[in-house]
């Protein structure tokens, strides 16, 4: 398997926190005194704050397909909405390489219009130009495989047919990052096959897919990595098989009412769980770590402060992680902690010429990490949000052709691998079925 650590990250979510203030009629949340009177006048009972995400750290890389599992209300959809940028987190920040596409075309489609009219409308909604939309039309029709039904009003479609059309339209926009929120579960077997191949192609073109699905089996089959979310936090993050298996076992126990086993399992996972920390290194820091006093730019900051104001949240995080780095504890962990580690003093190593600055520098402390995002410094490669970054190599030039053939190869490989695994499994299932069938029939007889 490919080591994804080596690939470039496409999504970095750092300490994402989201809370909603919602009204509730829970008697214990009832307000008191004057507040209660005013609440009674406007006709609401009380308000409570729901923490939908409590500090999620997450990194996805090129070519990865990450599954997200978790109980209902664990914050999966909220997380995806925040990744897509349709909602801003209260704290933390999300960085992406390309504009992620949420599989949410359905909002733009009109049930009274025919499927073909909706294809055009949906393509335009995804940001395609009319010419591109006409070009993409055949692709959508072929992928959705609706046949003559494409000319009927979309309101007459079954839910599976609607889902197929929506998925096909989303893929026609050729997104680099696709976020799927339980959309594929309604398609039938033939479509599942076709959609998987389409996603493989997307992955092979250095894309990333995030898939929320309740069927742990789907996650195991499709994904390279899985994440288990529980109450707004990431509990587990690892290979799809392991995570999905754990989750399935937990869900099964909850469903059966084995609360104790489920709780114990959850406890085990939580105690083994690790709060992952991310160090997001700003390009500025990597290139020239200048000391703070040398990099002070008061006047400029004040002038820009109107735009920077919103980012106070991310500043806080920056400080938190920088303090972690700044501690005078050693950063290299010894095998066992029994040995008294001498307090580290940082030797004054000769600096490479490129890094030396003329100003005085105290060697007792690290140069503070300046993780504050700066408007001027963050490299806005996709400054235009419309940029789907698919135009790097045109399809007809040499690089484009080579890339696409390579992409096809990779997609083919993944497909073969999955087919092999599936046929193995099916053989196993068949065997099991043969074993169990006589028993059942005997029972019923």
């Amino acid at each position: 398997m490919v080591d994804f650590e080596l690939h470039d990250p496409t999504i970095v979510a750092e300490n994402v926190q989201v809370r909603y203030t919602v009204s509730t009629n829970d008697p214990s949340h009832r307000a008191k005194g004057l507040r209660r009177l005013s609440n009674a006048i406007v006709g609401r009972r009380g308000q409570t704050t729901v923490r939908a995400l409590r500090g999620v750290n997450f990194v996805a890389r090129e070519g990865e397909m990450v599954g997200i599992v978790g109980a209902n209300g664990s914050g999966k959809s909220t997380f995806l909405r925040n990744l897509a940028g349709v909602e801003q987190p209260d704290r933390g920040r999300i960085l992406v390489r390309y504009q992620p596409l949420l599989l949410g075309v359905s909002a733009a489609l009109q049930p009274a219009l025919s499927g073909s009219e909706n294809v055009r409308l949906g393509c335009l909604a995804m940001g395609l130009s009319p010419a591109e939309a006409t070009e993409a039309f055949d692709y959508v029709v072929e992928l959705s495989a609706l046949g003559a039904a494409i000319h009927r009003p979309m309101g007459t479609y079954s839910s599976g047919m609607g889902a197929r059309l929506r998925f096909a339209i989303a893929l026609a926009a050729r997104p680099k990052i696709l976020l799927i929120d339980e959309a594929l579960s309604t398609g039938d077997a033939t479509f599942a096959e076709r959609s998987e191949r389409a996603m493989d192609e997307l992955l092979a073109e250095a894309g990333t897919v995030l898939l929320v699905n309740h069927a742990a089996k789907v996650i195991q089959e499709l994904c390279t990595r899985a994440v288990w979310m529980h109450k707004g936090e990431i509990l587990m993050n690892g290979p799809a098989e392991a995570v999905a298996e754990k989750y399935r076992w937990w869900a099964w126990n909850v469903a059966k009412g084995n609360e104790q086993i489920a709780d114990k399992l959850l406890h085990d996972v939580v105690s083994n769980a690790v709060r992952e920390e991310i160090d997001v290194l700003e390009p500025e820091l990597i290139k020239n770590p200048i000391p703070r006093h040398a990099a002070r730019r008061r006047k400029k900051l004040i002038r820009n402060s109107r735009h920077v104001k919103r980012r106070t949240s991310s500043t806080r995080i920056g400080e938190a992680s920088s303090s972690a780095v700044q501690t005078d504890k050693p950063q290299v962990w010894p095998e066992n902690l029994d040995i008294e580690v001498p307090k580290a003093t940082f030797p004054a190593l000769p600096k490479p010429a490129s890094q030396t600055s003329n100003g005085p520098r105290s060697h007792n402390e690290l140069p503070p990490l300046r993780l504050r995002p700066k408007d001027s410094k963050v490299v806005l490669r996709a400054e235009n949000p419309e940029d789907r970054a698919s135009t790097v190599a045109a399809s007809d030039d040499l690089t484009g052709r080579r890339l696409s053939s390579r992409a096809r190869e990779m997609a083919e490989d993944r497909y073969q691998l999955r087919q092999m695994r599936r046929s193995d499994e099916e053989a196993g299932v068949e065997r099991k079925r043969y074993d169990s069938v006589p028993e059942v029939s005997g029972d019923t007889l």
Binding site: Q88, A108, E277, V378, E383, P385
Partner: protein
């Protein structure tokens, strides 16, 4: 994923460089925002037309209602204001006066109520995918504009067919700049109210009242100069009402073949461009908040 674990059980994702990564869903600079909006123009038009045709397809008469609706409302207004209340004293060609007032005003009032609820009614789209949110209030204006066109046709037919004949001069062409100014004004108004309406949803209740107040205050079915003769202060204030300016210019050029007071043109143009800029900037400043409802 290979995870490095330290004795405290902290696994760490190795440091990630943020090079080439951009914060998602942030408000972009005004220039790229306008560029993105311009790229969306096809979607805005396609969406407005789709909404319009899907709302008409349900009816048996289909597109017929686009013409029937204004025709019937002319009849109703004429019956009440012209026949029963007899408000036409001192106004030449009262039917034309009324028709122009009602149709031009309802274009703006529909944009006003539509703009206030634009974010809320487009909530599913906002949650569905990323696009410059200003497309929502603008598409309500476009939709109302498309509705306004057949209404305009009906109006012209009514004016030509029904007896007191109009004075037809070259000034009829002045209707075009009036409609353009009014549309720009409506865009600004819809954008401005869209952000306000998102912040204070209660405004939708208030809007119908404000719109009615404005309706009576703009002289839709009576002449302001006539009625407010003994309130000079109020009359002076009414001169700066943009709707009054648009209605007066439209009537002068369509019905009476008169030149309008240049002051009216100035008032209309200043309101149109001023509110367009203010309203759009106001809406753009709130871009990141619209996902939360």
């Amino acid at each position: 994923m290979s995870e490095t674990k330290n004795p405290l059980g902290l696994s760490s994702i190795p440091s990630v460089s943020s090079e080439g990564l951009v914060p998602v869903g942030r408000r972009t600079s005004l220039r790229s925002y306008l560029g993105a909006l311009w790229n969306r123009r096809h979607f805005i038009v396609a969406e407005s037309r789709a909404k319009m045709s899907s709302s008409t397809r349900k009816n048996l008469l289909g597109y017929g209602w686009l013409f029937l609706n204004p025709l019937l409302s002319v009849l109703a207004y004429w019956f009440i204001f012209g026949y029963i209340l007899q408000t036409q004293r001192g106004i030449d060609n009262f039917l034309g006066f009324l028709v122009v007032g009602v149709f031009f005003f309802s274009f703006t009032s529909k944009c006003m109520t539509g703009g206030t609820g634009a974010i809320r009614s487009g909530a599913s789209m906002i949650k569905g995918f990323q696009f410059p949110r200003a497309a929502l209030p603008i598409s309500t204006v476009v939709r109302n504009f498309l509705d306004f066109m057949p209404t305009l046709l009906v109006m012209v037919i009514v004016l030509v067919v029904v007896p007191p004949l109009e004075v037809i001069t070259w000034r009829i062409a002045l209707v075009v700049p009036v409609i353009i100014l009014q549309t720009l004004f409506n865009v600004g108004l819809a954008c401005f109210l869209a952000r306000l309406g998102h912040k204070f949803p209660d405004l939708t209740n208030l809007m119908s009242i404000i719109s009615r107040f404005w309706f009576y205050g703009s002289g839709v079915f009576f002449s302001i100069e006539d009625r407010l003769g003994n309130h000079p202060m109020l009359l002076e204030a009414m001169q700066y009402n943009p709707m009054h300016a648009y209605l007066t210019i439209a009537r002068n050029s369509l019905l009476y073949g008169l030149d309008s007071d240049p002051k009216m043109w100035v008032v209309g143009a200043v309101w149109a461009f001023g509110l367009l800029i203010v309203g759009f900037l106001f809406f753009w400043r709130g871009e990141e908040n619209y996902g939360r409802l």
